[in-house]
């Protein structure tokens, strides 16, 4: 689960990492009020879960409350790389002397948390990593042992921070960032830029935090933030139903079990000439109700013309899936063509159930490839 900048900063603040004071606004007027309360100049920042806001014009300076209102009017409703801006974060502007970069994340190869720090922050950090690898100090943390203060020193001295007061502040922030990372069970805590103000104060000017979805059951404060994060109504419905769903831009609804098989199904639908309408993973279990819920989500997208149901049972049992399809047909009064391919655990039983029900809009296919072809064909005929 990705947090918005304002949520990440709220978290940072609660763990003692200095951030600028700011307020959330959902309308130009609110932005003006925020600017008045905070004192100008302020920065008005689009709250979207995607990088490159600055280049897209989603971050703007305002010298007066009126200007803040105007900037917010420009930014709210903007589309930034496919994400509509619904909220802006208005925050007191900082006089910036220097910009650094600090993050802690999962290094999946080493299977350890990894700190990265450089004094060459602010700009394109991947560029810095590629062209000046020595400027980026990397340091693994042993997960069983946790953070130790020498690691903060290693980062600041390694990156060549020359000012003692700055070093002290950054070492402190490094320790607190690790605490945030561990306590919130984050996969990523990134501060880019970490700025030094002209007064010598060090603070986080941005906050990118990704929290492990699997840990949300014991992170109630963060789980609560999630509701705010659901911008797309279809994705919100999917989350409510416990279905993994990503909206795509085609006509063939795709439902598979397991992320890998579902991804492969999307690939195959594309390769045989179709356009997938979504990625929808039934997940590990997949009882009849789960099938009904998934079909409800998929068919809520009016672009869908046909559905391809590609199931290879393991822990999922094909007879349960078949029952779920029949149940959904009744409950949702579905008339769209549904191509079903069942294999694996209890597949014979599942196929028998569908065959006996003999629904006119349910098409059985024996292979994944044939199923994809048939669904693409049916979607074409329907449009």
């Amino acid at each position: 689960m990705d947090l918005y900048e304002f949520q990440g900063k709220e978290l940072f603040r609660s763990f003692g990492i200095p951030v600028s004071e700011g307020r959330l606004a959902t309308s130009p007027l609110e932005a003006r009020e925020a600017a008045t309360a905070l004192g100008c100049p302020v920065v008005v920042k689009a709250q979207v879960l995607v990088g490159g806001r600055g280049k897209a014009g989603g971050i703007k300076l305002a010298a007066t409350p009126a200007e803040a209102e105007e900037r917010a009017r420009e930014i709210l409703g903007m589309d930034i790389r496919g994400h509509t801006v619904h909220r802006v974060w208005v925050e007191r502007a900082s006089e910036i002397a220097r910009e650094y970069y600090l993050s802690i994340t999962f290094d999946r190869s080493a299977k350890k948390p990894l700190f990265m720090f450089t004094t060459e922050g602010g700009v394109d950090i991947e560029e810095v990593a590629a062209t000046k690898p020595d400027a980026l100090v990397r340091l693994h943390v042993d997960p069983l042992e946790g953070y130790r203060p020498w690691q903060g020193r290693h980062l600041v001295y390694g990156a060549g921070v020359s000012d003692a007061a700055e070093r002290r502040q950054i070492e402190e922030i490094v320790g607190r960032l690790y605490e945030t990372f561990e306590r919130c069970e984050a996969m990523l805590c990134e501060i880019n830029p970490l700025v030094v103000t002209t007064d010598g104060d060090v603070r986080a000017l941005d906050a990118k935090v990704t929290v492990d979805d699997n840990a949300l059951f014991r992170q109630p404060e963060i789980a609560e933030m999630r509701d705010l994060a659901a911008a797309d109504p279809l994705e919100a419905l999917a989350r409510e139903k416990g279905v993994t769903y990503v909206k795509l831009d085609g006509e063939v609804g795709v439902l598979g079990n397991g992320a890998g098989l579902t991804m492969a199904t999307v690939d195959v639908v594309t390769f045989v000439g179709g356009r997938p309408a979504n990625f929808c993973d039934l997940g590990g279990g997949g009882d009849a109700q789960g099938v009904v819920d998934a079909l409800e989500v998929i068919t809520s997208d009016p672009q869908v013309r046909a559905i391809f149901f590609n199931i290879f049972g393991g822990i999922t049992r094909c007879d349960e899936v078949a029952r779920g399809i029949l149940q959904a047909l009744e409950q949702l009064e579905l008339e769209l063509p549904i191509v079903v391919r069942l294999d694996g655990t209890n597949a014979a039983e599942g196929r028998r159930i569908l065959e006996e029900a003999a629904r006119p809009n349910v098409y059985a296919e024996a292979t994944m490839l044939d199923g994809a072809r048939r669904a693409v064909e049916l979607a074409g005929a329907a449009s």
């Binding site: 990705d2 879960l49 995607v50 990088g51 993050s103 802690i104 994340t105 999962f106 290094d107 999946r108 190869s109 299977k111 350890k112 990265m116 950090i125 991947e126 990593a129 980026l136 042993d142 997960p143 069983l144 561990e182 069970e185 996969m187 990523l188 990134e190 880019n192 990118k208 990704t210 492990d212 699997n214 840990a215 059951f217 014991r218 990503v246 795509l248 598979g256 397991g258 992320a259 890998g260 098989l261 991804m263 492969a264 999307v266 690939d267 195959v268 594309t270 390769f271 997938p276 590990g284 290879f312 049972g313 393991g314 822990i315 999922t316 294999d343 694996g344 292979t367 994944m368 490839l369």
Partner: protein, 290 residues
Amino acid sequence: MAILVGAETRLLVQGLTGSEGRFHGLRNRAYGTRLVAGVTPGKGGQDVEGVPIFDTVAAAVAATDANTAMVFVPAPFAADAMYEAIAAGIRTVVCITEGVPAHEMLDLYAHVRARGVTLIGPNCPGVLSPGKANVGIIPAEIFREGSVGLVSRSGTLTYQIGHELTQLGLGNSTIVGIGGDPIVGSSFIDILARFEADEQTEQVVMVGEIGGDEEEKAAAFIEAEMSKPVVAYIAGFTAPPGKTMGHAGAIISGSSGTAQAKKEALEARGIRVGTTPTETAELVAELARG
């Protein structure tokens, strides 16, 4: 010989009294796996269709000499169950449970590596050595015994590929689902190394997907360390670019993690890559024909 599970496997199921554990545990036994014990705290002394249940893994191991544990315990308690199994002397742990928090897996990974214990999963379909033993939820009936090793990050995709291989008359030495979570106990490389050392295995299929750089790392390993031919499949060629915001991931791996990038990295090392399960199975069949 096959790898990881076989005739020597003495299986203990943690969570055998739960509905999933019971269903799949008994199915594994029906396949021929030696299922010797179940562990559920508070249910010691009971039995599941003749399989004795113990309160602790230590008691189960003492009574039954179990050497392999399969974990069906709910996610919040799964890591604890694995620590218990390892403390009791179990050397191979297969964790089916989905949803184990990643920070717990960081700790557990360090723990198993320090002790030389083999962990498969979590969030994986398990391990099947056709004709010998099945430990997990892989539907064994679609696989037959043979010489193709199969290792995969994805569960159901594994079945799909295995199924296509069977249709073409090819059999498997062992099928290993390593799981797709950020931190899993065994990587592609760990399993590839075992296949390389296994007499029964003559060629290997590696089933990857978008994200991370495990496939790229495996490619380097295959080129440097493996004599047996490897065919790869990557899922997600048409996936839209991810929403990931941070830069840290891409900096660490130096890879974009797309299917196309992985395909190129693999082919640059001389490894053939299928773009659909069907094509992948055909590439293997071609190799098998020599």
